[in-house]
Amino acid sequence: MTEETTGSTPGPASPAAATQRVRFYQTGTHTLGNRLMDAESRTVQASTDRANAITSGHRACQGCGEALGARYALDAAMRAAGGKVVAVNATGCLEVFTTPYPETSWQIPWLHSVFGNAPAVASGVAAGLRMRGQKDVRVVAQGGDGSTTDIGFGCLSGMFERNDDVLYICYDNEAYMNTGVQRSSATPPAARTATTPALGAAPGNVFGTGKNLPRIAMAHEIPYVATASVADLHDLEAKVTRAMAICGARYIHVHVPCPLGWGSASHDTIRLARLAVESGLFPLFEAEHGEVTAVKKIRRKVPVEDYLRPQRRFAHLFRPGHEDTQRLAAIQAMADANIRRYGLTEEAPL
């Protein structure tokens, strides 16, 4: 018996009557921008002035987390360095999908050499710039987890050890994706890859192997190490900005879901990255000179199952009637250990 109206999209922008006295609970502080937020509180990505380091037309898969993570990080670096950034890239998806000859998606100076030497090339670029007196130009090196934790590891350790003035960013999608999803030393236990098939008594990747690169970087006692995720852009941008303000060797490890390699829906890329953080499997922290200085608390804790179940690479853990409770518990124990180690919940302070 009543007349109803429909919802509506926003009308013209309201006058600047808005105040910052009252927080933006509508959006929390968690959306990328907000019409009511101070410009400084918005992310770089919310701005039409962002560098768009990787422009449209690149050939990454639908929903690629690495394409997103790299643009997030480099746009923040560009903002921090006033647009003067040179990027060096290891071989991998990021390199391949952005530069099929004769096209490029890069809108910043960008170099690629080979799979294993990006840290060394970046050290060289930094040295060259220093020799030319171009102190204002900053160098960012980047690679996938394969190039970082495996083949380029020696070069990277050297770059750390010499404290070369390079920010190295690893985009961790937890396998060698570009060549067809082979295991790397960042592949998590139980994950199915082309080289760790879901066959036999203990399907998928083995437990108890692999490297924790952020902690290895910390062991070099370099000025700055951080982990970040495409699920928390405010945090990621703050870390890149912080890193850009520091001289010497810096390392940021960004978690970037890969729909192809993980067997996940393309629209779930950010959601999965968020679940990795919220379960405790991917802790977000910062460390300076080898000491953890800050952690990002978990806002809404979830069991690891919420994160694992949507991914086909873990499907063998959830076979109907044959749930692998033992190995699920082992993965949960890894998350719980992270929560304790980094103090990720209010109950577990650092």
């Binding site: 109803e4 429909t6 926003p10 609970y25 929390g28 959306t31 990454a60 629209h267």
Partner: protein, 543 residues
């Protein structure tokens, strides 16, 4: 690439923008507006999400304008509406519903303080409409019809306008300066109000030259019940009591008062009796607390003020000041059944709050007018009675009896009357899909508990008619407005613009929203998943 090359780039490579990845797409993101559940639940058809959107930015004038486009009595409604919107509010599933009524009241009061007035933007239609009854339904219809360009006259039987908002709802819930000011604003639009003018002959009114008539005479005949009374004390009905109090003619009720009934009227009668000085104000109700038609918060407020409620009791006998009550039991069908166990209560007067009937006499005579079940007037989907040009709404037609429904009927009838006068039909626009909780990505909203409205000190509540519930301050109103999740409607958070791995979202600028660049959108759907408010939908590609 043309123009100046970026820093340190020496070659001119081809850009990947030559590669239109949009051809990969199997699904396309499309921006849409969904129906927010609050709007869906509002009997007055308010666009709550939209006026909260304006309020969030501190633009209270725009918020109020959007509010009164649907409801001309926001300061009243923010106080007396039972706010079904809040029961439907998605935020309720997150922490607590947005206190919509409190923000509405803030906006209504703000407009009164600032003297904001709506504009009549259309030229006069030359048509005359008579509204019978100056209750919320009649006032709403008059306001909307006037703003549509018609000349409206209201004829009201009573000495003052407002209907049950004045002669039913007590002052301590709805201060009269607020009611008077909102009614005066409607009249200032150019509505003619004739008081003390009871309409008894509809045909004569048409003969006077009115092109259409909207009747909203309410339901004022108190229902009675037969109780064997030997030497009955004072017995009166609740609506008479409340009307007399309003006119300054409060009757003597004595020290102890029994109110019989379990609706909101019973609560108001008992709370009024308390304020008039009764030491004991009791309610006798034949069903249980859970079955009471009164809202839980009203029962609570009555009990807080010292009203004693006897559940599961019927009055079987009255002997002077001694009332015999029988205990009841709820049977398997949920109906109260007598138990044969009796008690007595002592009281000086009995107030019957057993509901009201519609006085249909003057309408029953009109050819074509049909009486529906329960003695109310039958209307069609256009709110028209069986007599062409005679419309009806509010308490007198089959519907829930609230100020909000009455106001909604007034608006709905106005739209149909307007169409009828212009020889067309008003077609309600199709309603978009509901913005259910599952369409939201609530991760992006911060935790924020609801603001509680302050209450008057208890002693003052028990002794006077001062308003019980306080309003919000500007800060708390702004905070509360900003708790809105903007269900189903873009609020320009920039998430879609930021999360696209392919830079395929175009930001159109403040107020203009976003567009998808389908040349590059691969259809991954991240924008739709990460939109906090569900304003993006993935649709299959057709080609």
């Amino acid at each position: 690439m043309t123009g100046t090359l970026p820093f340190a780039i020496t070659l001119d490579p081809g850009t990947s923008r030559l590669n239109h990845t949009g051809t990969w797409r199997t699904e396309r993101p499309v921006y849409l507006s969904r129906m927010p559940p609050c709007n869906h639940a509002c009997p007055a058809g308010e666009n709550i999400q939209n006026w909260l959107f304006h309020a969030e930015s501190g633009d209270y004038a725009a918020a109020w304008a959007a509010l009164i486009a649907e409801n001309p009595l926001p300061a009243v409604m923010g106080r007396v509406c039972y706010h079904p919107c809040e029961g439907a509010c998605n935020r309720g599933q997150l922490d607590e519903a947005v206190s919509i009524h409190a923000v509405e009241r803030f906006l209504g009061d703000h407009a009164l303080r600032e003297g904001l007035v709506p504009r009549v933007e259309v030229p006069p239609s030359g048509r005359r409409v008579l509204v019978v009854g100056a209750g919320p339904s009649g006032l709403s219809a008059a306001s909307h019809l006037t703003r549509m360009g018609h000349a409206v006259t209201i004829r009201e039987a009573g000495p003052l306008p407002g209907g049950m908002m004045r002669f039913g709802i007590p002052k301590y819930r709805l201060p009269r300066d607020i009611l008077d000011a909102e009614i005066a604003r409607i009249l200032r639009l150019g509505v003619t109000l004739e008081l003390n003018t009871k309409v008894t002959d509809i045909d004569a009114a048409f003969a006077e030259g009115f092109d259409a008539i909207f009747t909203a005479v309410g339901a004022h005949l108190a229902k009675r019940t037969a109780i064997p009374a030997h030497a009955a004390g004072r017995i009166l009905d609740a609506v008479t009591l409340l009307a007399q109090v309003e006119l300054g003619e409060a009757p003597q009720l004595g020290r102890r008062v029994i109110v019989y009934g379990g609706g909101n009227t019973a609560m108001d009668a008992a709370r009024t009796a308390k304020r008039l000085g009764a030491e004991e104000a009791m309610i006798v109700y034949r069903r249980s607390r859970d079955q009471m038609p009164a809202h839980a918060f009203e029962v609570q407020e009555a009990e807080d003020e010292g009203v004693l409620i006897h559940w599961l009791r019927t009055i079987t006998d009255i002997d002077a000041s001694t009332f015999t009550v029988e205990k009841m039991e709820i049977d398997a069908e949920g109906r109260p059944q007598p138990t044969g166990t009796f008690e007595t209560l002592e009281a000086d007067s009995l107030v019957l709050a057993l509901g009201q009937d519609v006085d249909t006499g003057f309408l029953a005579r009109v050819p074509g007018v049909q009486i529906a079940k329960d003695g109310v007037i039958a209307v069609d989907a256009q709110m028209m009675t069986g007599r062409a040009g005679l419309f009806a709404g509010g308490d007198m037609v089959p519907a829930e009896r609230t100020v909000t429904v009455a106001v909604g009927h007034g608006k709905k009838a106005a739209r149909h009357i307007d169409a009828w006068l212009r020889g067309t039909t008003h077609v309600k626009p199709p309603r978009p899909a509901l913005a259910g909780f599952e369409t939201l990505n609530t991760w992006y909203y911060d935790d924020a508990p609801q603001t509680r409205q302050e209450h008057l000190a208890l002693l003052r509540r028990q002794t006077g008619f001062e308003e019980v519930t306080h309003g919000l301050t500007e800060d708390t109103a702004l905070y509360e407005a900003r708790r809105c999740l903007s269900c189903g409607n873009c609020f320009e958070c920039d998430n879609c613009f930021g999360v696209c791995p392919d830079n395929a979202v175009i930001k159109l600028g403040p107020g203009a929203g976003f567009a998808i660049d389908y040349d590059y959108c691969k259809g991954c759907g991240i924008c739709a998943t990460e939109c906090p408010c569900g304003a993006i939908q993935m649709l299959p590609e057709t080609t």
